[in-house]
Assembly symmetry: C2
Amino acid sequence: MSQTLIEIGQRAKMAEPQMRIMNTAKKNEALLKIASELEKQYEFILGENAEDIRTAEENHMKPGLIDRLMLTKERIFAMAEGLRQISALEDPIGEISEMKRRPNGLLIGQQRVPLGVIGIIYESRPNVTADAFGLCFKTGNVVILKGGSDAICSNKAIVKIIRDTLYKCQVTEDAIQLIESTDRETTSRFMKMNEYVDVLIPRGGAGLIKAVVMNSTIPVIETGTGNCHIYVDESADIKMAADIIFNAKTQRIGVCNACESLVVHENIKEALLPAMQERLKEKNVELRGDEAVCNILPDAKAATEEDWGTEYLDYILSIKTVSSVDEAIAHINRYNTGHSEAIITNNYENAQRFLNEIDAAAVYVNASTRFTDGFEFGFGAEIGISTQKLHARGPMGLHALTSAKYIIYGNGQVRS
Amino acid sequence: MSQTLIEIGQRAKMAEPQMRIMNTAKKNEALLKIASELEKQYEFILGENAEDIRTAEENHMKPGLIDRLMLTKERIFAMAEGLRQISALEDPIGEISEMKRRPNGLLIGQQRVPLGVIGIIYESRPNVTADAFGLCFKTGNVVILKGGSDAICSNKAIVKIIRDTLYKCQVTEDAIQLIESTDRETTSRFMKMNEYVDVLIPRGGAGLIKAVVMNSTIPVIETGTGNCHIYVDESADIKMAADIIFNAKTQRIGVCNACESLVVHENIKEALLPAMQERLKEKNVELRGDEAVCNILPDAKAATEEDWGTEYLDYILSIKTVSSVDEAIAHINRYNTGHSEAIITNNYENAQRFLNEIDAAAVYVNASTRFTDGFEFGFGAEIGISTQKLHARGPMGLHALTSAKYIIYGNGQVRS
């Protein structure tokens, strides 16, 4: 392991005790000051970001990726605003729950504590730098960031401002560290620093996440892709179904909670499909269906097996007909990615069965899958949406960045 | 990947939907019938176990390990009793919590669900087979067991009885599967079956756990070793301290929550150490101390740096003197394994600081570390004691074998 990485790990561990016991007022004060400093120094950040953009253009980066990399005054102010929102959230650290007196007199409870040192591996979105720091800092965690190489100048600038401001607030600067070397080997070594890092959170596309899952020996919280389905049951209200499908498919196409696939009960297909097609035409959504669908919608293309498993992130929707709620549940549990699934129905029994039997982070009755989001669920900013079952599932707010320890008050108890 | 392993994975996945929705009465009925069958067929199990013992003796296995491998009628009946106890525990599956109405009318809550498919990798203790099955089954999980090669005949016998009984109860037999091939390559491939297995739990010694953590690409719940400390503060009651130290060190030496190291405030060392030595003499505990300790206790050996980090699991205790609670906390946080730590004090402020600042799964004031245990904490049988911070920390009962999903009741909501 390179000396630099070990040093970074050691510094993180040294910062941990101060962060563990920092009170909420102190954390909020630092977050607000950092927000102001990011705004004050926006021209410095823009200058460094311009370096990244210049290099990206020289390397013929695609316009979409350049847009993701580019900062503007507005985007920097939005970052600052994000930190202010985090400062306004309730601090989960220190909360004690489930406190119970045992028969032997021991008083046992669980106290919420930071995870410790969190590693974040992400792509070239400089806004993640401030955002991830804010969530980790508010929960008393130390963070080590490994951002995409294309954003290195922007990330260094943002981290410099954060560290300088922490110093002014008399908080350990090592609450945030950036791994500056951007080669793959460093990333690979970082993913095996079990001695120094308690958890890794990859933020980015499916490729990045898979690489971290397959290579890390540190526990990983997997944020994931969403092949989200809407099942329209035979008893559904046609207008409600069309509205929800339109919203879930087109309100924002590039997000993980957008609907990618529709499952339709055969008894409602004639009534639903033309009405829905009419609605989706507004956004030129391409439809890919099975034979029954293509018979009703002549414009639809024939779906292949591959379509059922594809997260398009585009104006495309696959459509499958089924003859029962059982078949719908089996199809969805086979092809979904464990993100968000919805049933549109007016049948009580089918609604309950769908809720109980679908295996996903969020299961909806009569609502759009687009609600799977920290703000919509009522716990504010999130570090990502977990599609794994361990530790955290669904939108991960501050609580997902914490652990608990048992605290036990005794008066001399020994075990017999 | 070998065909057999893939088949086992596929069968587990096929069993998952039935297990996900199985009601508690059905699960309890099966557990009780299996308990009876294990008792009824104890002679069959003993016969198969005798095969394992014969092979072990031929291979000159150490007596301690043979004892661990050996079953008796009593041990088989204890296994059955364990299953009855699990059947009596409350079933966490299906419980809905945190249900809240959002401003837009959506009703959002969290429903407790099984993890899915759990892999257990363990050593040659055949009792783990029934025990791990019971906990996984009660929580609606499918389990794939990979036991130690030395116990293969015993494990096959126990799994056969469980599967036969499940069949009679009209429950999918594949709720439990045993990987029968015992070579290392199979284990290694098993640890990379992310497509089929949701979580791996290694049960055994430090070597086994480390191997799983370093090689698995599936999320692992790490159960761990315990280098547990007791810190005797200057205001401690001497008799209480000696009683707790005696209990935590000697009540059972081979367990992870036994005390391995003592930290003593210098202002109490003269009063405490001779009294404590007197107490520990009864069990011939070897003491290894720093210079200050050796000056007071001439029989004590000099401790080395290595002693501070060693989990003896033996009648040995290391002793370090410190000049403040800060030094005690720093020492413990440096050398502990995140298991169980205790302070003996009558000082309110120091008790609170110890509880807040020590980084471990269980932190005690004025009680023995030996209480870190599922039964003692009031939630019954446990699958292990987690020393990691993700998902579950401390004794892992039924709750640790579950996940949650968000369930959302709407009436046509779309996102704006």
